[in-house]
């Protein structure tokens, strides 16, 4: 397999295999015949930390829109709602990551895929453009993180 791309998040490398495409919401998408398999990119996993809990708010068979909220994840550093990277019909969720979300940290590009759907993979980025997307948005993503991390300034006289 060709060498993966690497995006440096500060000191930490985010490894991005080139055998698949990426959505702007930091999920990878790989074609498996008729279905598209979806998982988290290393960038997403690095921001979230150790996965603790994953849940889906839609059922298998649901038609979803791109950007539709479909679930929620809680990890050691952050929480996030999850959104569909593209329109389609959900054909399955990966049960093994539901029962052991930690798998995502150890095996994010293989067995720890999140879901499969049938649909059109519009608007996905090839690995190089995804890296450029990360490069362009990393400083601002950082600021956003810090802006949020910096809320509740001290107003307590204590």
């Amino acid at each position: 397999m060709p060498k993966p791309l690497v995006f440096m998040m500060g000191q930490s490398p985010a490894i991005l295999p080139v055998d698949r495409r990426y959505a702007r919401n930091h999920m990878w998408v790989i074609e498996m015949g008729e279905t598209l398999r979806v998982g988290f990119s290393a960038y997403a996993v690095r921001l979230l930390g150790d996965m603790r809990h994953l849940e889906w708010s839609v059922e298998v068979g649901t038609e979803v829109l791109a950007g539709q909220q479909i679930g929620f994840v809680e990890a050691s550093k952050a929480t996030s709602d999850l959104y569909s990277p593209m329109p389609g019909r959900i054909t399955s969720f990966n049960d093994s990551v539901l029962s052991d979300p930690g798998l995502i940290n150890s095996n994010l590009y293989d067995s720890a895929w999140l879901m499969e759907l049938q649909g059109v993979c519009d608007g996905l980025l090839d690995p190089e453009p995804y890296v450029r997307h990360l490069e362009a948005s990393w400083p601002l993503a950082q600021r956003l993180l810090k802006g949020q991390a910096g809320r509740n300034p001290n107003q307590d006289p204590r």
Partner: protein, 280 residues
Amino acid sequence: MCDAMPVIFSEPRPGDADQQELVLLLTNALMSRKAVDLTIVPHLYDLEPTGPTMEFLREIEEPMIVISWLYPRAAFWTLKTAGIAGQLAEEPADQEERERPVWCLGLHSEVDPKSILDEVDRILAGAAAPFSGRSDNREPTRRVEDTRERWYPVIDRDRCSGCLECLNFCLFGVYGTDSSDDILIEQPDACRPGCPACSRICPEGAIMFPQHGDPAISGDAKASLEGLKLDLSQLFSGADPSAQALAERDRAVETMQSQPKPAGGDRLDSLVDELDEMDL
């Protein structure tokens, strides 16, 4: 047998009349107890570890009570970081424990002074050997030191796992490591005043900013860690983070302009400052 137990009373930062009143009430009440050897010190968190007051505190070897405007955990680890030995004591029985017990009692504007005095009496009553009591009628000892308002992280070493996330995260060189790779607050005063970012990043909830308004950050042992987590939904919604950040910022500016003096103004102010100043 000792005649009295050292009680260290940390003053509030200057400026609040209610707090000053509470200080007067409490210090008078404490002085009326013969088993109390009272010393009044500047605000604990603002003391330099190398300054004369910390030096004085390091020399106290007996069990002691520390009353400060900080959560007990925050007060204790502020002291411990400055090399003051002991363990955070909770019950009078803790006097039997291995290390010298340090009782830390936290003050805040709404504290009931009686609860503090009751706690002091309870600790005095539980002392291993009863105190004979001071015979003098002197004023409390006052340690004077020039302090300025500081802002830096305080690590709870009982919680810290040594993962060094904080070191990797902070862009201001606050953290470093010692020779055995343990986390060290190398340049506390390089920390950006008001920034509590790394406390939200620490997986163990070990980093405290004792002057922060959120109890989970300022050292309340009971406040949940979950509340500290970042919500990254904005980043994962797929919208371009740059657009998101700008939108956030515009919203913040708009809200500030449309509300003459909103209660949340400072919060928004600081969010905007955060976006502006962050030198990445």
